[in-house]
């Protein structure tokens, strides 16, 4: 025993993975798949830097075990830009100065992406709520909120 074979979808690819079920999704992404855009910060679900989208919902990859993934759909930061083309949201982050050191950025983008998928035109309060679980210690939240708001407006057109 001890090794299990998991089948799940990762960034649009069907994956079959033999691993220990008690590893965190965070470690599986980083160590097995080299998807290091998903960072480790606090490791206890407070900082949001490991945010990924699991079955359409923003979740902390540090709080999910590999053994829970069977049949799930996981999307990481690496799946936002395709063929070298940034998403509107990523572009807006750049244009609005929403990136400074960049460590919180993947998590912020994933939380904001999940929000915009669910609420196409969120209020400022909804935006703040959606990124409340993502800590930024250098950029400041204003530029990030601006970027999300501007993306919503741009996507609406």
């Amino acid at each position: 025993m001890k090794y299990i074979t998991l089948t799940f979808s990762l960034n649009g690819n069907k994956i079959s993975l033999k691993t220990h079920g008690n590893r965190r999704l965070l470690d599986v992404l980083r160590d097995d798949f080299g998807l290091t855009g998903t960072k480790e910060g606090c490791g206890i679900g407070e900082c949001g830097v490991c945010t990924v989208i699991l079955d359409g919902k923003a979740v902390n990859a540090c709080l999910i075990l590999a053994g829970q993934l069977e049949g799930s759909e996981v999307v990481t930061i690496e799946y936002l830009a395709r063929d070298g083309k940034l998403t509107e949201l990523q572009q807006a982050f750049l244009e609005n100065g929403a990136v400074q050191c960049g460590f919180c950025t993947p998590g912020m983008l994933m939380s904001a992406t999940a929000l915009l998928n669910e609420v196409p035109f969120p209020s400022e309060i909804q935006i703040k709520e959606a990124i409340a679980g993502n800590l930024c210690r250098c950029t400041g939240y204003k530029q990030i909120i601006d970027a999300i708001q501007k993306t919503a407006i741009r996507l609406k057109k």
Binding site: H20, A58, V59, L63, L65, G67, S111, A132, G133, N134
Partner: protein, 284 residues
């Protein structure tokens, strides 16, 4: 690497109960407490050899709001509680508390039963569940039983849950009619904060008298608890500013009696009393 615990997914309740019947098995839902605990090799989870994922069990994901009362499946997440079309109007203190729990990411995973099943004093949903007289429904392979939440919670991090048992749902009696109420949480910051004080209060008034009162606190007491003595003492009394002040002071005293004087008491005691008073004033 450490290969325990093993993780197994149960897709129905029977299977979950079978997998949980062993001594060293424990259920895993949102994992917001368990997963970091296991990763950090916390002592309180050291004996677990098998974790049974219960997040895919349909029986545990139902919310049924009926005139005869409401059942909330143990595996219902706080996001699901917040987006439910009726829970907010029927049990507003519960949804207000749910909205203060963690972050979107946490609420997308964390479940209602997971919040109180470890009996952490800071479980935010507990005071509202207590004032709504929540009943915990429990199943094992052999039997099922029901216990009022207040009795289910024994002492910090200890409940009445036995080996092989699983909390399957929470039953809330119909919300008391003509009661006003509020939930209050104080943490070190507003978002993603462990609560330092939680209060839930329901009040009914008739002809300038208190005709119904339910008060519960969490975080500031060793476990979430109701103040039945104070409730009984004040039902039937006239509403006056002085009376409400004494009521609030007495809630503080009752808390102090239980916890003893702590380093945080000079701060928490007046805050608790003031907030109880403010809620009472707002509701009368």
């Amino acid at each position: 690497m450490n290969t325990t615990p093993e993780i197994m997914i149960a897709f129905n309740l029977d299977r979950a109960l079978k997998l949980l019947s062993g001594e060293k098995s424990a259920p895993l839902a949102g994992g917001t407490d368990l997963v970091p605990g296991i990763h950090q090799q916390a002592k309180r989870f050291a004996a677990i050899e098998r974790l049974v994922d219960i997040t895919r069990i349909p029986e545990l994901k139902q919310v049924n709001v009926k005139n005869s009362g409401t059942t909330i499946g143990a595996g219902v997440t706080f996001s699901e509680i917040l987006t439910h079309p009726r829970l907010g109007s029927e049990y507003p203190l519960l949804t207000k508390a749910a909205a203060t729990i963690g972050s979107v990411q946490i609420r997308n995973r964390a479940t209602i039963a997971g919040n109180f099943v470890n009996n952490a004093p800071c479980a935010d949903s507990v005071p509202p569940l207590l004032v709504y007289d929540a009943i915990v429904r429990i199943c094992s392979l052999k039997k099922s039983r029901e216990i009022p939440l207040q009795e289910f919670l024994l002492k910090p991090y200890k409940t009445q849950l036995q080996t092989g048992e699983l909390v399957t749902e929470i039953f809330l009696p119909p919300p008391p009619q003509n009661f006003g109420g509020d939930f209050y949480k104080l943490g070190r910051r507003r978002g993603v904060a462990i609560s330092r004080i939680t209060l839930a209060l329901l009040l009914q008034t008739e002809k300038k008298k208190i005709s119904g009162l339910r008060i519960a606190a969490g975080a500031v007491t060793p476990i979430g608890r109701r103040f039945y003595d104070i409730e009984h003492q004040y039902v039937g009394t006239e509403i006056s500013a002085a009376g409400l002040k004494f009521l609030a002071v007495n809630v503080g005293k009752a808390i102090l009696e239980e916890t003893g004087w702590r380093w945080s008491s000079p701060y928490k005691l007046p805050v608790t009393q003031q907030i109880v008073y403010q809620i009472l004033c707002k509701l009368t």
